[in-house]
Symmetry: D3
Subunit: 212 residues, 6 copies
């Protein structure tokens, strides 16, 4: 997934088994787990690997949990069958909006994986519900701005991540003023910009999948 | 902080030094760090301690980062002086809404700590900006519901956490449909209910602090 | 459990399964495991959480092993049935004697848990043998002193923890002179004081359980 | 140190610096730290290494803390100078009483290290106070027994570890009835046996050091 | 670096400081550290991340130490200046020979980084000594074979990794018969094939750098 | 195993079960796992324990993987039966060549373990193929030198470890020029010296086993 100078690898792998807690709790169907990492050369100053530090940092955990929820909301887990789908998002180059780029690209990769499973006869019908895309909106200098690149991101006082589907429904809405706040009017402006951005991304996804 | 059957200990401790990154980056003023944990007997089925498992689980990390951001948005860090304030939230009993109870209680504990620092002459003026409170709203059976207890929480398809201040501004807005979605109309309903809840909580905080 | 300015939460949780090693070694009956932690605001200077440091410190491990042994000596494990009882002791405020307060309070919590299991028909008869209590005695300025509070504790050259049961038998006896020693006469004095303290605590436990 | 079939390597290493906490708290003099481990082939069934499991088990921590306290009680830390002495005890073969064998052997190794430091002019006078030795006593079949080997140890209902010095003073006294108890009369019997054992060990230490 | 179906990202990052041990030991010049990881989707069966498992596996450690040694042998560390160069090799797709592909690609990335540092005036002259490349040779069905792809690799009884420079000197030679052995004649055959392969790779590197 | 001033304990323990991956992949026969550690007093400057640092260092991992491969190449794993043999090598004193001393000693310990298993009727025939020994050769001052002690080792520019069996076959060949290189002629010289050293060691092993 390329998005301005942001580049994220989105990989989907299928395992023919489900997590232990599903078996223990008797939950049927499948599961989707996401993992997110920034490669050490993705930032201007080298980012130490989580494996070297011995644990995943809080921000990465938060993002991979978000990607997982977004993908699970796009899929009928019952129809996925007794399997786990791993969604891996690795950031090659980070210039703002890596989490929303990851979600938008992950949906495309998920689609391609579903097509292959159907071609191989592993799935009779697609478990996908609606296409899912995500954008990031912010307030920079009092103005709502779509698709924050890193320079804007660092200047933004407020950051809103929006995950929506092709039916116009919200999946996630995360607005946060790091040492700042936002008003109801600003929220409305950001939601308006965000929905327009989502619509555009859903169109780009369709084209990519049509050509794929 | 008691909230229905939810009970959270909110403790504030002051250290007269700042994190290393602030010194390295030459950032002046103070810092606020939050930690959140569920005590093992807080849930019906015993929750294993993070210390025994050797690492903090993803959900707790997410919550403690949220509490930290909320508190930092309530405070002028420059006026806090060169010190770190630790906000510790330990859940004694969990019946839904532990993260919003933690934030609402933490603000009161923070106030009390500021008063003591002023009484001890460590602070000349209060660094607090506006009071901060948080509520949780959800959609249960298609209806927006305020203040989810655990039974409702488990039944809820959508969960929205709202952190606002006494000036009516948003600090955090986190809406998430775990394997579900929500419409724009439902978002508006949840925001309406949430704002009313926040107003009520700010009133309760004022009373508690007046009596304290 | 409140004990001077020392306050410890003692929680008992029952799990209807036993540790793997019991199954592997074919040991019948139940098991009791204790965990002990100091909450970060329990000391004058904030104590970093074990979960943040990634491992349990040596002192906490030593204490939780002691609590576990004391509780197992109070119970007929065979009669407990195929279950694990977790005893959690979390220190809210530490002013000396936290380990002995934890044991004394844990026995009361254990009793209450046994009563509930009997009321629920999970246990036909009580697996409890004798009540168990613990005290701390020390040598301060050459004098044996019962129930050390923190100020005395820091001044003490010798510290003796005594766990006994209502039949007047010893369960644990841990005397240690941190960079100091003690004579046989001092040992006898400490044991005498300790036994009197135990007798008093067993009386308080009985009253608490009678009123409970 | 050989003791029946128990064999423990006791190594002493001197580092010309002190732990950070001593510098931070302005404590003068030196420090002694002990580490204890069972080598994987020391037991009949291979014992997994702590390094492979990623952390030190609770029992080893307890023992190495005990060895450290015993050595520090044998030494005037002020006279040791600004240095850290590491006492490493590695169990080659375990047949009961490894912790008491470790302490008894560690004292001899410490003496030898002091002699060398004096010969090298690093120490003007010996910082050693009194010789220290340790024994283990137990109750087997109702009888107090000295120097438990593994077969007796497993059969023992009560285990008492005794650390004393050449002045007849107690340094540590740890009596524990794992799922059992002991009476005051049994305590007296164990103390009597233990003191006789200590006297004998102090004699053996003197001979070893005279011949060394 | 693409090599048959093997694809490895080789990234070089420069930090203007050296590891602490160099400062402590008074070693002048710079340092080169390598890190190697397989991305989870690089293998047919998904490979769990080291960060999730909490530690780097033995094979990855071995490989990243090898890459580091190979790069350090290609560079005059004194001329590198007081800086650390990080060489990151992440395997996108693994089809045999990932460690030799990583070394061969890393040299090219290192060259490019040196060129940029010279262009930016950070380096007056190049610290590079000779170009370095690596190949993997094996014995499959009794025959020496160059450039093992995964299918051959799994069938190979012996695997020899060869790192050489443009002056025809050996830097590393690692021959290993996993549950097998090799004769002196087979060693000679493998060395012959390997040297030819190295020559070819050095030519490809030169072309890539000429075009770059 | 004593080797100049280098002393390594080689212990072999047999477990009557195999690693999980063998069961999962349906691999029959047995397995051999090696672990290597340097005891803290084995070096002039005390070496911190891996267990205290919480993980095994890269060098130790590399060496224990090498020992494991060498032992597996000496044994017909099929004939070993469904069991795991643990080979533990602990360095008591390190004066160069600890890894090759460990391998050479481990073979003797393995032989003795096989003899006992045959005497106890657990093995009908020996699973050993050929005796295995290892030496270390280096280039010091331009000269190939056998059996590097620590003083030479630190001066060596190139270090070659050679593992061979009694049939004159190579098992491992690891040549490495830490910040240096070696020519083909030097490789030949080192191989010549190494083979002579191996022959001598195999003779010493035979004598030890004849006398054992």
């Amino acid at each position: 997934m390329e998005w301005g100078s942001t580049r994220v690898i989105c990989g989907v792998t299928v395992e023919e088994l489900v997590p232990r807690w599903m078996k223990e709790q008797g939950v049927s169907g499948g599961w989707i787990t996401a993992e997110y990492a920034m490669l050490p050369y993705s930032t201007l100053q080298r980012k130490a690997r989580d494996s070297t530090r011995g644990r995943i940092d809080g921000r990465s955990q938060e993002i991979q949990r978000l990607i997982g929820r977004a993908m699970r909301a796009a899929v009928n887990l019952e129809k996925l069958g007794t399997r786990t789908v791993w969604v891996d998002c690795d950031v090659l180059q980070a210039d703002g909006g890596t989490r929303t780029a990851a979600i938008t690209g992950a949906y495309v990769a998920f689609q391609l994986a579903v097509r292959r499973m159907m071609a191989e006869g592993k799935l009779g019908e697609s478990p996908l519900l609606h296409a899912v895309a995500a954008v990031s909106v912010g307030i920079v200098g009092g103005q709502a701005v779509l698709d924050l690149c890193y320079a804007e991101d660092a200047a933004a006082t407020v950051d809103l991540n929006l995950v929506m589907n092709a039916a116009g429904e919200f999946i996630e809405l995360q607005g946060s003023g790091e040492e700042a706040t936002f008003s109801e009017r600003q929220l409305a402006e950001m939601l308006g910009l965000g929905k327009a951005g989502i619509a555009e991304l859903l169109r780009v996804q369709r084209e990519a999948l049509a050509g794929g």
